[in-house]
Symmetry: C2
Amino acid sequence: MATARILDESKVLELAEPLPLDGGQSLPGVRIAFEAHGTLNAAKDNAILICHALTGDQHVVSNHPKTGKPGWWVRMVGPGKPIDTDKFHVICANVIGSCMGSTGPASPSPDGDPWGMRFPVITIRDMVRAHIALLDALGIEQLHAVVGGSMGGMQALSLAANFPDRARAFLVLASTARHSAQNIAFHEVGRQAIMADPEWREGDYYAHGRGPEKGLSVARMAAHITYLSEEGLTAKFGRRLQDRDEKTFGFDADFQVESYLRYQGLSFTGRFDANSYLYITRAMDYFDLAEEHGGRLANAFTRSKARFCLVSFDTDWLYPTSESRNVVHALNASGVPVSFVELSAPFGHDSFLLDVPALDRVVEGFLNQ
Amino acid sequence: MATARILDESKVLELAEPLPLDGGQSLPGVRIAFEAHGTLNAAKDNAILICHALTGDQHVVSNHPKTGKPGWWVRMVGPGKPIDTDKFHVICANVIGSCMGSTGPASPSPDGDPWGMRFPVITIRDMVRAHIALLDALGIEQLHAVVGGSMGGMQALSLAANFPDRARAFLVLASTARHSAQNIAFHEVGRQAIMADPEWREGDYYAHGRGPEKGLSVARMAAHITYLSEEGLTAKFGRRLQDRDEKTFGFDADFQVESYLRYQGLSFTGRFDANSYLYITRAMDYFDLAEEHGGRLANAFTRSKARFCLVSFDTDWLYPTSESRNVVHALNASGVPVSFVELSAPFGHDSFLLDVPALDRVVEGFLNQ
């Protein structure tokens, strides 16, 4: 096998050989954009792989190049933080299919034009294969831990099941071992919103203006509701009006929650590719770790020698506690050491990204056992 | 006041005078399409008004003129049924703002063109004012009962608060006294999906093809998820594939739940007007019965001499049991007789429309007390 190249200046790995995919195809010319912090020790055994969520990216602690905002997990990762870069070498790679430097539908295909909808449908396991290729290139045989929330947790579980020797610990936050019918339904609404936008042009919009921004915005709005709790929305917005004393009897954003959602939708279109949204939601919908292992989730972990920690949040209705409990039962059935906690936090699914001090303690404690 | 005319052949009432609206305007030339079953007795005191939900209509037991399907509540209404047309004169009127014969944005405005977005924003109380005008025209001073589920329950509560002498009993199913931030958020997604469709044309689409069908379809899909429970979706669809043995690694509707949702969206566009969807969701979002009564819900019922029954469903996450309980507490605080039950049913919010025998017993029992 030819040697993969790391393009140091931009932290992009270019794979020398095509990446085999679950769908049967191989993806040529794969690039993997990643970020790394903290020093890799001589034994190369202090690395932690952080796996990001659906619309996340490798900018865990660095400013986002498009929005200029701080990295998405600066509260958790850094010197002296729960994921301590003074102790650990922390790596986060943009998943394939995404749009922040790793190969996805907006990337050039072998014919030079963007892949668009010719990009192969990928799976969570395919994303993990790319992570493994990165670890190989970095010479990291075994990670200290894999950490991921939401879709990041799916990658962590898939890595545990498919590459059990590549990490000693797995920390899975607000996640699930399979997408439920309701999860699929919400994603399908988002995909249909994108595909309904005439600017989508069957995915071939890259040379034609700004793409399906309206459809992508609606998709993001629908998804965003599922990331928050009803209680959190009520506490944050209730029925308060936006910059006015009276209802206008019109269709402006009278309510703060309307204004907030519209902003979430619009700002998302400036940083994310609509086709990537289609492909990554599809990968999540396809995820069913039990199905890959003869229909029995416990089978996924029979080869595991790692230890696990599962965390759920009591207000998360996207991946509720019962989903984490399913994974814990399977790990127990396989005799794998696992700790499990449901934390109380008002923020719904997004709790893993927000200020939940109890989570900090769980993360720090688990990684330093 | 000029006399309202009932156009008997089509059960349409035409109001002689403009209908005053909460927004400050008056709506001229209002038509109210309705359906009536069972005989009105000589004392005119055996009438029951059924109030329909967001996308419902007056076709409670008659076949829908566009879809040909049976009326939406044939299981509940008819001879010998829980709402017994052998005993009661049952009336159901299409709400104003809708599109099944009552005046709405698709109706001709005074200049002869459809109202479109020039239609005034209406409220739940405005819908109720139209119901009262219908009762006046029918010579019905006091109803035996008002019955409504979901938005129909909001109309029942509004009627109880604003016209307390017009009914002796109120039966409110799966409803709420105010729209929550999450309720508003889901409606806003639907409105944005419609308005994002270039075929919407700022609401002026009636002379231009088929209107914003794609946007309306996405709106319906998003809303439909909120009408079902996670458990119900899992039981009905789970992760089962649609007419195939393997995932296609594409964007077809691989999963049954995707296929089902797409069908729900598409079929809705054949029977509902997109602008009506905008106006009626707005009316629901504006609904806050406490706000209309000095911020204290109990104040809404201080003049009431009627009896009430509230029913919620344990899997309804759109208007969960806590919302019904709020209403019950307010009624209790006003010293109004009320019974309350949370029924167990797997169908989520839609339970009030579906086969829940316990609901039949509650409805029959309450109406025959």
